[in-house]
């Protein structure tokens, strides 16, 4: 009976794409509903003269958030540890896992593109700024914004041309979160236990540190967290090319509240951070795949 062959990878990817789309139907419908509500709100805002929607693809964390949640939906019924139906099918486990992961990613990219197009259309309708040249206010690097009021003369004004590469941010950030969460979902028999366990451990360590009156602990932990999240190659660099964390509000000495930038985001920071975190995700994924491999 050796004339029977397993299906090709193309056939498997095609079927997984269709099946994954089917399984995500309900979430896509919910998302569509939310978009409708958001559209309604944005248009009423515009009509009431409260300004248009700004098209800043790098600012929306929604695709990245979706990328983090998607693996849970994708692997919900096909957990790798055990004899779930997917693994009884005649295809190598590792390649099968990759095919299913790819199928989910394809839907993620489609959803991200749809989201972006919707945002663009909304911005056009409401005559919002479409990533055009922006006049931004910059703080000198020596000043750290705080409740302390600021001398207006310290604020520089300049024109910033947002690089078109920022349009890619939703796709790269979503891919990075998708890879990382997929690695966790596939790598551990009980991923939630690991996540909760890590969180609990951190709190335990903090409690111990605090209990030991180690006053250096909290600030040190804070600095580590800060670097991890908002550093040059931190999480925010991946999620928003740092446009989120570099932007802040200050109160001027004349009691005026303005939005300023601590520094302008650099594309190179974004690229390196994306590569860094995506590599971490891929490494985790390889480890998870190895754990679940078919052959000895």
């Amino acid at each position: 009976m050796s004339d029977r062959r397993p299906p090709t990878i193309a056939q498997v990817i095609r079927e997984q794409f269709k099946a994954t789309g089917l399984s995500l139907r309900i979430y896509l419908m919910i998302a569509a509903g939310l978009l409708l509500v958001a559209t309604f709100l944005a248009i009423t805002d515009f009509i009431n003269g409260r300004g248009g929607v700004e098209f800043a693809p790098e600012l929306s964390m929604i695709p990245a958030f979706a990328g983090a949640l998607l693996p849970i939906a994708v692997w919900h019924r096909d957990r790798p540890f055990g004899s779930r139906f997917l693994w009884t099918l005649p295809f190598d486990r590792t390649r099968h896992t990759l095919a299913k992961m790819l199928a989910g990613w394809m839907w993620l990219m489609i959803a991200g593109a749809t989201f972006l197009v919707w945002l663009l259309i909304l911005a056009l309708i409401t005559k919002g700024n479409i990533a055009g040249d922006e006049v931004v206010k910059l703080l000198p690097s020596t000043v750290i914004p705080d409740p302390v009021t600021l001398d207006p003369s310290l604020v520089r004004t300049m024109t910033w041309i947002p690089p078109k590469a920022l349009w890619l941010v939703p796709f790269t950030s979503a891919t990075a979160t998708y890879l990382l969460v997929t690695a966790i979902t596939l790598g551990f028999k009980h991923p939630f236990r690991w996540i909760l366990g890590t969180v609990a451990l951190v709190y335990l360590m903090a409690a111990i540190g605090h209990g030991l009156a180690a006053d250096a602990f909290w600030p040190r932990l804070g600095r580590i967290t800060n670097t991890l999240m908002e550093g040059r190659y931190g999480v925010d660099a991946v999620l928003s090319a740092r446009t989120e964390s570099l932007h802040t509000q200050v109160v001027l000495s004349n009691a005026e509240r303005i939005g300023v930038w601590r520094a302008l985001p650099k594309i190179s920071d974004w690229l390196i951070a994306t590569l860094l975190w995506t590599s971490i995700g891929i490494t985790g994924l390889i480890a998870a795949l190895y754990r679940n491999r078919e052959q000895r």
């Binding site: 009976m1 050796s2 029977r4 397993p6 056939q11 099946a19 004899s83 009884t88 052959q295």
Partner: protein
């Protein structure tokens, strides 16, 4: 790898051992299932029947020993072994409850190039499967019938059926087994049935494998087994059914 048998073996395990932690699921089991035969695997729950199937599908790796399907080692040739197997698992739950029965059949069809669409349609009709119904809303019996169709439609040379008639009413049970007999007439198939209901597969049985606590107590042809048990109790001349013989064998081992 020489065999003195003229008949090729569809499934052959050699001193197969499987441990789950310190629990012994299979203890040096050597199955021999000739091609084209119906092999009935009996034993209490937890005796090792489902574990055997999982190893043949390479869902689990042997702790030691090996398992071969049509001469291929299952742990080294998982996908190639599985493409020749139609499997009905013990669990009666849909893998994807949101998929309709029809969609599930399409899903499986994509994975088996030998899928016979016309035969699948015939099975759907014979087994009264409602293709438009969401598979998560099917009754246990309907789901079992769907699982049977999914396993048989690609005409695999080996069928592994774990309690195939579970959840089916009396009429449906007879229908399903008759359908299986017809299937055997149309396609050369080896069947391994793990079941508690020996009486309903009695006449279908060619070989019996009796598992107890992970050990293969007996592996014989249907008539040989009955003769064997009968000779063990010469004073009792009552004619023995297969079920009686197996029950006697299992209880004898306990009393020893």
């Amino acid at each position: 790898m020489t065999t003195t048998n003229a008949t090729a073996l569809a499934v052959e395990t050699t001193n197969l051992v499987k441990h789950y932690g310190d629990q012994v699921a299979l203890d040096s089991v050597s199955f021999n299932v000739p091609e084209g035969s119906v092999y009935v695997l009996v034993g209490a729950n937890g005796a090792g029947k489902s574990t055997t199937f999982k190893i043949l599908l390479n869902l689990e790796r042997p702790t030691s020993g090996d398992a071969k399907v049509f001469g291929l080692r299952t742990d080294a040739n998982g996908p190639q072994a599985r493409v020749q197997i139609g499997y009905v698992p013990e669990q009666q739950e849909s893998p994807y409850p949101w998929m309709t029965s029809g969609r599930l059949l399409e899903y499986v069809a994509a994975y088996y190039p030998s899928w016979d669409a016309a035969y699948a349609a015939h099975l759907v009709k014979s087994l009264n499967i409602r293709t438009g119904k969401k598979s998560g809303t099917l009754s246990k019996g309907e789901l079992r019938r769907l699982q049977l169709a999914m396993a048989m439609a690609h005409r695999p040379p080996l069928l592994l059926l774990d309690e195939p008639t579970e959840g089916l009413d009396i009429i449906a049970r007879k229908q399903a087994l008759s359908l299986l007999a017809e299937h055997l007439a149309d396609s050369p198939t080896t069947v391994i049935i793990a079941t508690h209901h020996v009486h309903e597969v009695d006449s279908l049985t060619d070989y019996v494998g009796v598992l107890k606590e992970g050990k293969l107590q007996a592996q014989m042809q249907r008539d040989e087994l009955r003769k064997f048990v009968a000779t063990q109790r010469p004073n009792d001349t009552r004619p023995l059914s297969l079920e009686d013989a197996i029950a006697t064998l299992l209880s004898e081992e306990t009393s020893r």
